[in-house]
Symmetry: C2
Subunit: 233 residues, 2 copies
DNA sequence: CGAGCCCTTGATGCATTTCAACGAATGTGG
DNA sequence: CCACATTCGTTGAAATGCATCAAGGGCTCG
């Protein structure tokens, strides 16, 4: 039930949420201590929901390993994917009392589950940590603004190029070869296009020599500069 | 240079940023006092920029009257409009050191300009106010997520319907007749479509009997339920 | 009255969706 | 181990939504 905050994986995840020199913050140690007492480390299986839209939002989650997808369904059939989350992201920022989207695991993995009241009480006692948290929220906000910009201004294939560059940064940490943890349908629902258009996008970028596709999920960016130019037009 | 925090217009603007019972918060009075000493009330003219993309983000702005548009330009010609802001909104939340978009006045108006360091120091002394501020950020985040959803999932005319319902709430405060302060081009750039498509959208909604158009900027929603149904599909 | 601006409308072409068929990979049971 | 079903991705063809190009209408202001 409780977690081991001395684990490297957990420490690095927390550090990438709360910033590089997290350990030096006032209250960081008390925070870790309280986490080790009250937070839970839970394992999640592929395709299981961590929470669903309209569930009461009582917890905040920090992915330690595995990939998480945030989604919302429309009245009739279709689905929107808001984000893909990896280690170092954070989940459940909302201060509403209900989640406004669902969170589903794309792969088996581990997440740390923290009661919101615990977080709230930490924030009240250690403003430095609260500040970091809110800086994180701000980064999310800016990230979503960029996404909004891309959705409003770019063509389908350009959006796909942006997506691949983003994934290269976040999954491959800058390396050009990486494994996509999501299906074509997931990508399409994230970028607001049909599955077929997403697939054609992959083919088109491949034909242009910007990427190569080892198999459906394993991608290499061959010409990053050209991909950037194409994406930004 | 300084502002008069006893002015009703300023009080109501602050209240709608920081929440209903703002005055009862711990530190609210000190906050107001510091504002009256150090914040500035400035008048802005139609079409003037309050700040531009890449300007150092040293201030936070609270619109008292008038309408503000947030925009960003692409490398070549086109433009994205992120938001339209009214009284009770807040501008410059970013904790980056530079703005990532420009802010332009759509009409003559008044805004309160607050140094970020002042805000920061208030937050450090009065966590209750900081908390309110961050709740506000959270509302913005949720608002943008909804916008992202709409941009990704809805057709051009549906997006326009959403837009009109949103404006009805925010400008007309729920009344069905209101004055649009922005041009068709602004709307198009906000909703990610061409000026012509936006215009056709207006015509189409009018032909369907959902809205009526007194003149270019004065709109009446005739059948709100139908408009909702159409928007949400 | 005429100029200029913004909005509307029509015609055409392109981007994207939809429908449909096929191919590749994976797993299952005989 | 192979036939078969299933799932997921690709590709083609037709239909549709939207952008673009182009012309005209209405309003405001000099």
């Amino acid at each position: 039930m409780t977690i081991d905050t001395s684990k490297v994986s957990i420490k690095t995840s927390l550090a990438s949420c709360f910033g590089r020199n997290f350990q030096e913050l006032e209250g960081a140690n008390s925070f870790l201590e309280e986490l080790s007492k009250h937070a839970q480390e839970i394992h999640i299986n592929e395709n299981c929901y961590i929470f669903k839209e309209k569930d009461p939002s009582d917890y905040i989650y920090i992915p330690i390993s595995g990939v998480i997808m945030l989604e919302r369904s429309t009245s009739k059939g279709s689905r929107h994917v808001f984000a893909f989350l990896f280690t170092g992201n954070l989940l459940g920022l909302s201060e509403f009392s209900f989640y406004t989207f669902s969170a589903r695991a794309l792969s088996n993995g581990t997440i740390v589950k923290i009661n919101k009241q615990l977080i709230q009480s930490i924030f009240e006692r250690y403003p430095a940590i609260a500040k970091r948290f809110h800086e994180f929220t701000n980064h999310v906000l800016n990230y979503i603004l960029d996404q909004l910009f891309i959705m409003g201004q770019k063509s389908a294939h350009q959006r796909l190029a942006h997506f691949l560059l983003d994934m290269s940064n976040r999954i491959g940490h800058g390396t050009n070869k990486f494994y996509l943890p999501m299906s074509r349908q997931d990508i399409a629902d994230y970028l607001g296009m049909s599955l077929e258009t997403a697939s054609r996008g992959f083919s088109s970028l491949k034909k242009k020599g910007m990427i190569s596709i080892q198999n459906n999920y394993r991608i290499t960016i061959l010409d990053e500069a050209a991909l950037h130019r194409f994406a930004d037009d």
